[in-house]
């Protein structure tokens, strides 16, 4: 436990500087990821999950910008690094996989070239060495006949195969941290399960820290050690998988759990969270979830700070764990 966490994010604020003014996409995001840990980052579309990922690997597209806060990789600050230094980290130390496997691979370049380029971004390799390593990497993610697949174009592979290739590319340099941005959302459930198991196995074997971004609590429930729940650019709850799923403290987390269809509720009406997430330009004062919260009181109008409840953190003035107790 003496080694610093792989990733420490502290008070990260990211904004979009638009002509209409500054739109704050992330507010005071703080979390750590340790070696071998799998962190689930859960929230609705627009809650800032992907922005968090891009803030970490320095690929926010303008006008997005990290305004303040600290991001440390193995204790080393990376927010002020030059673009060239960030490039050295990307792929080598921090890797990222995207949602749509149809779109993550370049449609007009062969797999071999895309893997070769990713390899040579951080290593000097001959053509033959690059090919050998690519084949080994494809084998590892369970792609049959990797030598043939290597000479294929992306459109000749199925969605699941493509995502395996993307995972293989992301893990080429055995990065310390992998950010998976909804990598299974666009896939069939059976394929989704395979990819989940694959990524979990590879990260466990290598001690890779993993951030799994998803809007689907059910997806991360099976693999994550810890879960962060994001809402409108803020973390509203942070806890281990068991405590968070068994006894959610934030009403929003409760709502997310209830929104997952289960066998027990069969026939009964699926519970849902009323209303929708506010636009980032129109964040309510005080607790951001207040307008949709059935537990809201006058106290919720005050700004909410992260509160510590035993081993977890929650941004709510009357957490459910206290109400029920």
């Amino acid at each position: 436990m003496t080694a610093p966490p792989v990733l420490e994010v502290k008070n990260l604020n990211t904004s979009f500087l638009l002509p209409i003014g500054e739109v704050r996409a992330l507010r005071d995001i703080s979390f750590d990821v340790r070696r071998g840990e799998i962190l689930g980052l859960v929230g609705e579309s627009g809650s800032g999950k992907s922005i968090t990922g891009f803030s970490i690997n320095g690929l926010l597209s303008p006008p997005g910008q990290v305004m303040s806060g600290s991001i440390r990789l193995h204790g080393q600050e990376i927010t002020g690094l030059t673009p060239a230094a960030m490039r050295q980290l990307r792929g080598a130390k921090i890797a990222m996989v995207f949602q749509d496997p149809m779109m993550t691979l370049n449609p007009v370049l062969k797999i071999s070239l895309q893997m070769g380029d990713a390899l040579r971004a951080h290593a000097r390799l001959s053509e033959r060495e690059a090919r050998a390593r690519s084949i080994a990497a494809l084998e590892e993610v369970g792609i049959p006949a990797p030598e043939e697949r290597l000479d294929a174009f992306p459109h000749q592979l199925s969605g699941g195969m493509r995502q395996r290739v993307a995972v293989a590319i992301a893990l080429l340099h055995e990065p310390d941290l992998v950010i998976m941005d909804e990598p299974t959302t666009a896939l069939d459930v059976t394929i989704q399960g395979q990819i989940l198991a694959l990524v979990q196995r590879l990260c466990r074997e290598r001690g890779t820290a993993l951030i799994w971004i998803t809007h689907d609590l059910a997806v991360v429930a099976g693999i994550a050690d810890r879960i962060l729940v994001m809402y409108a650019g803020r973390i509203v709850e942070d806890g281990t998988i068991d405590e968070l799923l068994d006894t959610p403290a934030h009403p929003y987390t409760r709502g997310l759990i209830d929104s997952v269809p289960t066998r027990e509720q069969r026939g009964s009406r699926l519970r849902q969270i009323p209303g929708r997430m506010p636009a980032l330009t129109d964040i309510p004062e005080g607790c951001t979830f207040r307008p949709r919260c059935s537990f809201a009181t006058d106290a919720c109008a005050a700004p909410q700070e992260m509160r510590s409840l035993g081993t977890r953190l929650v941004r709510c003035c009357h957490p459910l764990t206290e109400v029920s107790a």
């Binding site: 990307r90 449609p107 370049l109 590319i169 992301a170």
Partner: protein
């Protein structure tokens, strides 16, 4: 592939057949060449003799029949004015035009691509506005005007550039070319630049539009997330995608450039086929006009075929002939 090419050739024959009808009868509608050839002292018997000599006394459908018969034997008739086979005149003049058009294409790409990339990378920067303004002007100002202004400025006022002719030529494989002598290049510069302007404007616009689209695609983000160098991403990963529409448009445009080099060749007295066509029209040299137009049709069909083939090489998703392998 073979099936595709055969189909294409059959289509081309059909186009050609329709074309001969239109061209042959169309040319017969405008003016009577006999009055141009006959001297003022030529009386009616003399005129009749000329008409009979040229075969113009026979009914037009019979003339057409003779024309088609000769065409099938590869004979497009003799030029009225030069008295030699029309095709031999075209072959003799064609290298000059091809040389001009080829240089224009090279200029359009070497200048247009980098400018388009620059404009696409920083779309709001003032340089981008200057580039787009330039492309707008190049696109909309008539090229004969630009050609004349260049002659006035660089040839007449400054005396830097020759205004007419091809300059020194060297014989390369039996073809006279200006491209390989200093004097020839000197003569070639202004007409080639003038002819390149429209293509250049098009390349700039297509490149910029492509950049704006491709730069924000997931696969480019993924390439960056893997730490691939920006230069490599631009020159290969982005460029390969952008080239697809550019090749398509330029392939079609290039035929037009050769066919309509007429204007530039007239202004700079460039002895190419365009200049020859203008001269032929002035004296109603029917066989030469018809031969040229048929030649242009064949050239267009061939260029389109070549474009399709290059296109399929650039974009692996396109398989000529419809059925994928």
């Amino acid at each position: 592939m073979t099936e595709f090419i055969v189909k294409r050739l059959l289509q081309a024959l059909l186009v050609l057949a329709v074309m001969t009808v239109l061209v042959f009868f169309g040319v017969n509608v405008i003016g009577n060449p006999v009055y141009i050839f006959a001297s003022s002292e030529c009386d009616q018997p003399c005129l009749d003799a000329i008409i009979k000599d040229l075969g113009l006394d026979r009914p037009i459908w019979e003339q057409y029949w003779v024309f088609i018969g000769n065409l099938l034997q590869g004979d497009l008739g003799n030029s009225f004015t030069h008295g030699v086979p029309a095709m031999s005149l075209i072959w003799q003049r064609l290298p000059a035009t091809l040389e001009l058009a080829f240089c224009a294409l090279v200029i359009a790409l070497t200048v247009g691509l980098p400018l388009g990339v620059a404009a696409g990378l920083r779309p709001t920067h003032w340089t981008s506005r200057v580039i787009m303004g330039f492309s707008m002007i190049a696109f909309s100002v008539p090229i004969f005007w630009i050609g004349l202004i260049m002659i006035i400025v660089f040839s007449v006022s400054l005396g830097w550039m020759p205004a007419v002719g091809r300059g020194d030529t060297v014989d390369i494989l039996g073809v006279d070319l200006s491209l390989f002598t200093l004097d020839g290049l000197h003569h070639l510069a202004m007409p080639a630049f003038t002819l390149s302007l429209i293509m250049m404007a098009m390349v700039i616009r297509l490149t910029r539009a492509g950049m704006r689209e491709v730069l924000f695609s997931d696969y480019i983000k993924f390439a960056r997330a893997n730490g691939i160098r920006e230069r490599r991403i631009l020159t290969l990963h982005v460029m390969r995608n952008i080239l697809i529409p550019i090749v398509t448009v330029l392939g079609m445009e290039f035929g037009g450039v050769i066919a309509f080099a007429v204007v530039v060749e007239s202004i700079f007295s460039w002895p190419g086929v365009g200049k020859m066509l203008i001269d032929a029209i002035a004296v109603l040299d029917r066989p030469l006009i018809v031969a040229y137009l048929i030649f242009v049709v064949i050239m267009f069909v061939t260029l389109n075929l070549i474009t399709d083939i290059i296109y399929s090489l650039l974009d692996p998703r396109v398989r000529l002939g419809g059925n994928s392998s």
